[in-house]
């Protein structure tokens, strides 16, 4: 109390306003300097990334007239159209399946692999093998797996050999198998990254609590369940979010592998949007679909930040 009164008196005497004024001038100078360093990044990001996003939102509220261009205000009619479009809802459901699968499989498999390889001597080679698909372009991966899934392709032949009878499943041509098949490819491609990230996370875990648990009498499974897993939560969360975003926006794989699937447009929202805009020329409608994807992705990102801070507070 006493101290506060004395501070008040001191501040009055030396003039807080003047000090504030000086600080403000200094801040302004700092900002000017900072802008010099930030300007190339700001300019490029602003013009090529942020402006288009705004433009996209605007487009989604207009009407496109063929060969005439945008401009006619359409309100939310593009969004209303979505509601009635059977392919949209199908794409939405498929996207949800995608996202669910791209969380569950890569993470379960990746976690299993990471735990498995963690203390395995000489595991480097295996890790590399499992990671390499991730380096490849989805386009190339799609092309490769396209032939794996071909009617007379690798998979059917393998199954024929194993089962002893001719197998000729239309992996990429039928409603029942096309999504699982592409998801399998997606898992094949991405699980390496998930595994590596989890391995990094595991390696970054403090060893001591684990040793302490050992001495405290925990069995390996109990250590995993009660110590490792909770400590790994932030990494798991981050990996989950990466997987969700990847699942939402995956396009190349679907485009390449789904090329001959009659329902291609409804494989996922990303494809649906591309179809509507670039194939059918429904530019404004396509923009609206893009906005919907954007909103969902932003929502997920927001949930992530929310959870991340909570988890961090818990485990740090």
């Amino acid at each position: 109390m006493d101290q506060m009164a004395r501070d008040e008196e001191l501040l009055n005497r030396i003039g807080l306003d003047r000090i504030r004024q000086n600080d403000r001038t200094r801040r302004r100078r700092r900002l000017r300097l900072g802008l010099v360093f930030m300007s190339p990044a700001l300019a490029l990001v602003g013009v090529f990334l942020l402006l288009p996003v705004l433009f996209n939102v605007w487009l989604s509220l207009t009407k496109w007239r063929k060969f005439k261009g945008f401009g006619e205000w359409a309100g939310v009619s593009n969004y209303e159209r979505m509601a009635g479009n059977p392919f949209f809802s199908e794409a939405l459901i498929n996207t949800a399946i995608w996202v669910g699968a791209s969380i569950v499989f890569p993470i379960l498999l990746g976690l299993g692999l990471a735990m498995y390889f963690r203390n395995l001597r000489g595991a480097e080679t295996f890790k590399n093998i499992i990671f390499i698909p991730r380096i490849l372009a989805p386009t190339a991966v799609g092309v490769l797996w396209f032939y794996v899934y071909a009617p007379a392709g690798l998979l059917n032949r393998l199954l024929s050999v194993v089962s002893g009878q001719e197998v000729s499943v239309s992996w990429l041509y039928s409603d029942a198998t096309v999504t699982p098949a592409i998801i399998a490819t997606f898992v094949w491609q991405t699980v390496g990254l998930v595994m590596v990230l989890l391995l990094l996370g595991l390696a970054a875990l403090p060893r001591d609590p684990i040793e302490a648990a050992h001495i405290d009498g925990a069995s390996p499974w109990q250590i995993f369940r009660h110590i490792t897993l909770p400590l790994l939560t932030p990494t798991l969360l981050m990996v989950t979010i990466l997987s969700v975003l990847a699942g939402f926006t995956v396009f190349d794989l679907l485009w390449v592998m789904g090329a001959s699937y009659p329902g291609q447009r409804s494989l996922a929202l990303a494809v649906f949007m591309y179809f509507e805009a670039f194939q059918k020329g429904n530019w404004a409608f396509g923009s609206a679909v893009a906005v919907v994807i954007g909103i969902v992705v932003l929502g997920v990102t927001w949930i992530q930040t929310f959870l991340q801070t909570r988890v961090d507070r818990m485990t740090r």
């Binding site: 001591d208 609590p209 040793e211 302490a212 050992h214 405290d216 109990q222 909770p230 485990t315």
Partner: protein
Amino acid sequence: MAEVRVKELVKVYGRQLAVRGIDLDIPDGAFVVLVGPSGCGKSTTLRMIAGLETISHGDLLIGGKRANDLPSRDRGVAMVFQTYALYPHLTVRDNLAFSLKLAKVDPADIERRIDSAIAALELQPYLDRRPSELSGGQRQRVAMGRAIVREPDVFLFDEPLSNLDAKLRNQMRVEIKKLQHRLGVTTIYVTHDQIEAMTLADIIVVMKDGEIAQKGTPLELFENPDSVFVASFIGTPQMNFFDGVIERDGDTFFFVGADMRIPLDEGRFQGGLQPGQPVVGGLRPEDIIPEGHGMQPSDGISVTAEITLTELLGNESLLFARRGETEFVARMQQPRMVADGERMTFHIAGARLHLFDAETELSLRAAR
């Protein structure tokens, strides 16, 4: 409560020997401190006892039972780590309860044990916090609490204080000592800080390169170091060392070196004194007494030297002095201001001179 015996303990990493045959006999309730420079194998030894490292060779007996191949949890040991190793995602209470829950201890009993640990360590206000919300000292206490609740036969500490600041370290040191007194649990404590070792231990084990350099009570080690290594390791500021030779003049042996000629009491050096033998003489700073600042020793000589620097510590000063080529440190009680360059007379307590063979660096005090 248990005694711990260690016989010929060896740890091999690949073909590298980290611990080279340690023999220890720790009576029930004793406080043993392993001390030594970094990399000398202290932690490895402790971790073998804890069951965190396999034992390459030798025997470990805890309470008379061979424990080499027991898993940690069955050895009856509890450990406090340098980094405290608390479970970051659990509250203080859950940290304490963790081992008990795993052991399926009766909840009421868990309650009771936690309560008594909390009371002993004054952790009451922090029970529902997570480790991240605690200060270093509080974390240290929780780590100890986690060890206590298990009511182990043996406590193991691996540099538990080295992450605390000086003030807290002193304070926790006292607390650990008191706690061990009260609980009477056999304790093995690793540190590289000789002050901690001196103040805490019943028995100090000084290690060097994976072997035991000397073991004994703190006073034994301070008064009768077996080697230059132990002599320089224990005590601060470090013992002054002077190169010299043994000379004999009639019945009297002398240490001659650093422009000094100090008469020796032959009886103290059972290793036998050989005239002409090159030796290292050792004198602790408190055995070089500035004139007028402490009792003049009954035997010994006086020398004058020039002061190069003074360190004032309040109740005493350290005098850095030079005499010809030789530099040494002396401790000044009831200090006065000393100017750099001043020449002072020092009394040397010859009876407290340590002698080491110049080649083996082992003490001439006892035949070995």
